[in-house]
């Protein structure tokens, strides 16, 4: 055996698995399909606006030719372009009338560099939702199973937030919060008066407000409130694989990382019921090679992982590895986004904010929970948002030139607020990732075909979220209130999930309650594909907790000789 363990992918999930396995003494290989990235020196975080290429704008022709999908993501600009794939080099197919936005980057650290860093726990409202309304299959775990692992990953990652005592958004091990600004505080007060079943709290985020000794030992420092976090942070103030988990894994002496290695397939030895090898293609030379280990974790992202499993067909698994259930690639989900509302506020004109904080506020789910009303849909949505005073950019849409304009823009504009909805998406088996029958990528691997739509429940939920957002802003004294939109195509929240779901029954799910494949004992999957339902909060913290939990389970089984 080359290694004790192989981890495919170096993003949030893969980084956590690598750290935990290395710290348990296992010789671990991380395989990353993209290029190497140096923490700090490869970031443009110390560039002032006038130093960033084209002031942040990616050339129009380059966007059209190479970034038709990626450029739709808010964090895409000339200072982050290196962290997004070229769509022209990494195509995927969808039915023409059913777009799916697959935002991704192929490089060490994956999307842990560009994530929005919001970090929330799921609750038993979420883990029991499928069982209660009969959609999808039941999660094989409950909150009590994952709670200690949330504690563990929060302490290490460093999550700032306020303890609230809410059942639907459990508290965690928090660093001091990043405080609400004037208008957000007033909004909180007003909303909690008008709607006693709703709460507004600081956005819980993976930023070090007060680093612990453990954080400092890894070279991480406190958040400097610079903003533009998606460029990477040389202070290591937010959690990423490059600032936190991979350095911790490296310290053990047990970590090996190979980059530019695209996993082609996993080989399966039916006699031993085990993965016998991981075959990769060198991204640059296109030469093939293979690695062996006692246990394999696939953390290639929900769509990437489905692609690898489906491509790993064998005599025993003709539909793809670990896919006796036919659930691999199915039940693709993403949070419903592109909904909510915005408005301006006439007050607080003598007040301002200083610094560029990395978060805003969170207004957790209440619909069908603390408010059991007349909803004509299942599950629910929460909101995240922020308030700020506008600056010079407002003049683009306001008439005015000359000294008058300059004088006016010298002072900040009115306060504005955005309430951004995050809706739960139900699992549906026909929302699906498959391999394209004929088209191949530049390495000869079948293209991913994504066929995924929102259903009636998502549409009704989005409509109600807009209505609520407008109502809350109006009741809090906002003007010029308008909806943000009617929802973006699936994929737009960059939270793809569900393509290798956990479940109790091997006939209807891919993974057991420890993220271990029902069908292959030395195969674990801990990225978003394991998710049995989406919940209504950003899922990354849950991937971290499940990854740490599964890695330690696998280490236990290896140590006891049971695997």
């Amino acid at each position: 055996m080359d290694f004790d363990a192989i981890v495919v992918g170096s993003g949030i999930s893969g980084g956590w698995v690598a750290k935990e396995l290395c710290e348990r003494g296992l010789k671990t290989l991380v395989i990353e399909r993209g290029r190497h990235v140096n923490h700090r020196t490869d970031y443009l975080d110390f560039s002032a606006p006038w130093e960033v290429p084209n002031r942040g704008m990616v050339p129009e022709a380059e966007v059209a030719e190479h970034y038709a999908v990626q450029s739709q993501y808010y964090a895409f600009n000339s200072a982050t372009k290196q962290f997004w794939v070229r769509d022209s080099e990494h195509p995927y197919s969808t039915p023409t009338d059913r777009p799916y936005n697959w935002f991704r980057g192929y490089h060490l650290g994956g999307r842990s560099i560009t994530w929005s860093r919001h970090a929330y726990r799921m609750s038993d409202c979420d883990f029991s939702a499928n069982q209660q309304d009969g959609n999808g299959v039941d999660w094989p775990i409950r909150y009590a199973d994952i709670s200690p692992w949330y504690d563990r990953v929060e302490r290490f990652a460093g999550i700032s937030g306020v303890t609230e005592g809410l059942a639907q958004l459990p508290d965690g091990q928090f660093l001091p919060p990043i405080e609400l600004n004037c208008l957000e505080s007033a909004f909180k007060k007003k909303i909690e008066q008008e709607f006693p079943s709703r709460r507004v709290t600081s956005g819980r985020c993976a930023h070090l407000t007060e680093p612990t000794a453990e954080h400092i030992a890894l070279g991480r420092g406190p958040c400097q409130m610079r903003g533009n976090c998606e460029r990477g942070c040389g202070y290591g103030a937010y959690f990423s694989s490059l600032s936190a988990t991979l350095p911790a894994a490296h310290k053990t002496g047990n970590l090996t990382v190979v980059t530019d290695a695209i996993v082609e397939r996993l080989d399966y030895d039916h006699a031993k019921r085990r993965i016998s090898g991981v075959r990769v293609i060198d991204a640059n030379t296109k030469q093939g090679r293979s690695y062996q280990a006692r246990v394999v974790f696939v953390c290639a992202s929900s769509i990437g992982t489905a692609q690898i499993l489906l491509a790993s067909q064998s005599e025993y698994f003709p539909r793809g590895l670990a896919n006796r259930s036919d659930a691999v690639g199915r039940n693709l989900m993403d949070l419903v986004v592109g909904i909510g509302a915005e408005g301006t506020h006439p007050g607080f004109l003598d007040r301002y904010h200083y610094g560029r904080r990395p978060t805003g506020f969170c207004l957790p789910r209440y619909v069908n929970l603390t408010e059991k009303g007349d909803a004509d849909f299942l599950r629910g949505y929460g909101f995240q948002g922020y308030s700020r005073r506008s600056s010079w950019e407002r003049a683009e849409h306001e008439a005015g030139v000359g000294a008058e304009l300059k004088e006016r823009l010298r002072m900040p504009g009115p306060w504005g607020m955005r309430l951004i909805g995050f809706g739960e998406m139900l699992p549906r088996s026909d929302n699906r990732v498959t391999l394209h029958a004929t088209r191949k990528d530049g390495w000869g691997l079948p293209l991913v075909h994504i066929d995924c739509t929102h259903g009636e429940n998502e549409r009704r939920l989005a409509e109600r979220a807009n209505r609520d957002a407008i109502q809350m802003l109006v009741s809090a004294g906002f003007e010029n209130v308008r909806p943000l939109g009617e929802g973006k195509p699936p994929g737009h929240s960059m939270h793809e999930m569900g393509t290798a779901r956990m479940g109790r029954d091997p006939a209807t799910s891919v993974l057991n309650g420890h993220n271990q494949a029902h069908d292959v004992q030395n195969l674990f999957i801990t990225d978003g594909s394991c998710m049995t339902s989406t919940g209504s909060v950003n899922p990354s913290l849950t991937y971290m907790a499940l990854s740490a939990r599964a890695a330690n389970y696998a280490a236990d089984r290896l140590a006891s000789g049971e695997m």
Binding site: W50, E179, Y352
Partner: protein, 174 residues
């Protein structure tokens, strides 16, 4: 083919003619704009953001930024759109005052630009929006615009969620 139809009346011929990139390279002149066009661009930008107690658009390098961005960032379509705004300025100068924009006194220049701005903003004209956007980005995201006209710190070091505006005194550039 000339990019941007020449719509001039009277004696200002070729002032707003846009030059193809290949022509420019072959001719070795300023990229994207010829000398006359660049002179017009400079003065239009300076009218939109004039020199006051802080530098204006020219002092902050906005025209040079526009020239660079149209070459490095913009497509031909964008170059044509920006050219069309300059043409509209020139056309309005002739129709209103019977002279080229560059021959007008400062208050008349302001009158031309203010009228065009009000009209095009009201109409949500995409070409004008792009033009104004680039002028604003060029100024307020320049070092002079961000740090002398407005306030910008690379490393704020702290988040102060609710401070008297008078303590900060000006808008933040980012």
């Amino acid at each position: 083919m000339l990019l941007g139809a020449v719509l001039l009346v009277g004696g200002g011929a070729a002032l707003t003619r846009f030059v193809r990139r290949s022509d420019v390279i072959a001719g070795g002149s300023r990229r994207g704009f010829n000398a006359e066009q660049f002179a017009l661009l400079e003065q239009v930008c300076e009218v939109i953001i004039p020199t006051t107690d802080t530098p204006g658009a020219i002092g902050a390098g906005v025209p040079a930024f526009m020239r660079q961005i149209l070459e490095d960032w913009g497509t031909e379509n964008s170059r044509t759109e920006i050219g069309s705004v300059l043409e509209a300025v020139e056309k309005r100068a002739w129709s209103k005052f019977g002279a080229a924009f560059l021959e007008l006194a400062p208050e008349r220049r302001l009158e031309v630009i203010a009228a065009l701005d009000a009209e095009r903003i009201a109409a949500k004209d995409p070409a004008y929006s792009k033009f104004k956007h680039l002028v604003l980005v060029g100024y307020y995201q320049s070092e002079i615009g961000a740090t002398r006209e407005l306030r910008y710190e690379l490393v704020p070091g702290a988040w102060r969620p609710c401070v008297p505006l008078s303590e900060i005194g000006r808008a933040s550039a980012v």
